[in-house]
């Protein structure tokens, strides 16, 4: 027996999952099913799509229509799914590497088209699956197995990037702030267009170890201490915000969704 939420939505025969002890991905995955549960969505009409990575293993555990694609391409597969059947609620679960490194182009274009897809980035600031190489979100100066002398790249703010590309909903929460995470995923799903939730996860095995940041508990404490809710942030003096990062709903500006616009073209022929 597991909790009724898990029993209801997970593929019980695949659990316990393969993720390492303390891996944040389990917290994010639970947040996704919790959001689905609270929205009372028709599960037959939910399609969960991922790429390749530790995070991208999530769909295999989730009892919906699930698709595990190639590395970086989840959003492009999802675009085909949503366009083919706009009735489906398409949710993409992806990693920081999957979504913003090799998959960066599909991200900005799905956002630009405002495709009706909700993307949840399991952002652990590292390539977990391949063993700890730095990713586009590994903080500058941190180490990875391919950055033995410290990463000199700048990092993406995935939400800003998605917004600049055209996303109509963005938000960020961490695995410490799991309640907020659930709310943002719900709001992201409710937005008809392209939504992106940057879910700050934790990879104790590679990111934590390589950077001597300790175990999950210590990293989560760090997340707790350094995240500032946007609402609070607006009231804080700049010096209080130095070195912190924002969580909460960052952008919400509904605009015409792609498949609804396409439908108008198709209907123009059906009427005619």
């Amino acid at each position: 027996m597991a909790s009724s939420l898990i029993e209801k939505y997970m593929r019980m025969d695949k659990l316990p999952h393969i993720w390492c002890p303390g891996c944040g991905h389990g917290i994010v995955m639970r947040a996704v099913v919790k959001a689905i549960d609270e929205l009372e969505l028709n599960r037959e009409k939910i399609c969960i799509v991922s790429g390749i990575g530790c995070s991208s293993r999530a769909p295999g555990y989730m009892n919906f229509n699930t698709l595990h694609t190639t590395h970086g391409r989840a959003l492009a597969f999802a675009t085909g799914i949503k366009h083919a059947n706009p009735e489906l609620e398409v949710i993409v679960l992806t990693g920081d590497g999957d979504c913003t490194a090799i998959g960066g182009n599909h991200l900005i274009h799905a956002a630009r088209r405002n495709m009706g897809i909700t993307t949840v980035v399991f952002n652990n600031n590292i390539y977990g699956m391949t063993g700890g190489q730095y990713s586009p979100t590994t903080p500058t100066g941190d180490k990875g197995t391919t950055a033995p002398y410290g990463n000199i790249d700048k990092v993406f703010d995935i939400c800003s990037l998605a917004q600049a590309a055209g996303a109509t909903y963005t938000g960020r929460a961490t695995v410490y702030h799991a309640q907020l995470l659930i709310r943002l995923i719900k709001d992201g799903i409710k937005n008809k267009g392209f939504s992106l939730i940057d879910a700050i996860s934790v990879c104790p095995t590679y990111y934590g170890r390589k950077n001597k940041k300790g175990d999950s508990v210590r990293i989560m404490e760090w997340l707790k201490d350094n995240a500032v809710n946007v609402a609070a942030a607006s009231k804080l003096p700049p010096e209080k915000l130095a070195g912190k990062f924002l969580i909460g709903e960052l952008y919400n500006n509904p605009q015409p969704e792609y498949t609804e616009e396409y439908k108008k073209i198709v209907e123009s022929f059906q009427r005619g």
Binding site: I18, W19, C20, P21, C54
Partner: protein, 178 residues
């Protein structure tokens, strides 16, 4: 010894990969040939894992261990998963916590490797090096000097003393055995 196949197994975090590397390197220091391989796969994320070494005075072609002559298991899971295919004339070395009652082969040693690491050396992490000491004391696969040199080559700087002690304690366990 024409060709000895060694399988070292335990749980993901126990450092058996290093254990195999050190053993192979020691063999090379002795002027022998050695090939070390390991299992990759999703099981690399925790669970049982293994590292394998073939040592030979001749060239080694086929690189995988098929019928181990020496088998180490630090956990029950690893034991159960990898005990198969053991050579009848093989040697089994298990941690005392592992139940190896049904072991299919001649020689079997149940030794307090994990406890020794924890208590005698004071660092659970060095169980792999303790195990090396034990294995070599039992099998004499490589020279003591090469083994120590290989350990020191491969451990992080600053931990040399700790590891030297671990090796020593591993050796000692066997003295009690014999």
């Amino acid at each position: 010894m024409a060709c000895t196949e060694v399988r070292l197994s335990g749980s993901g975090g126990q450092g058996l990969l290093l254990c195999g590397i050190v053993l192979a390197e020691a063999a090379i220091l002795d002027g022998l040939n050695a090939v070390q391989t390991q299992s990759y796969g999703p099981e690399a994320r925790g669970g049982a894992s293994k590292s394998e070494v073939i040592i030979s005075d001749a060239k080694i072609f086929y690189p995988k261990v098929r019928k181990p002559d020496v088998f180490l298991a630090l956990t029950q899971e690893a034991y159960d998963k990898y005990v198969g295919n053991l050579k009848e004339s093989g040697i089994i070395i298990v941690d005392e916590t592992v139940n190896a009652d049904e072991a299919p082969c001649r020689e079997k040693y149940s030794v307090p490797i994990l406890r020794t690491a924890r208590e005698a050396v004071g660092k659970a992490m060095v169980a792999n090096i303790v195990a090396l000491g034990t294995i070599n004391a039992i099998t004499g696969l490589v020279s003591e000097a090469s083994l120590e040199k290989a350990v020191l080559n491969r451990v992080p700087p600053g931990t040399e003393e700790l590891n030297r002690r671990a090796l020593d304690e591993g050796r000692k366990i066997c003295q009690n055995l014999r």
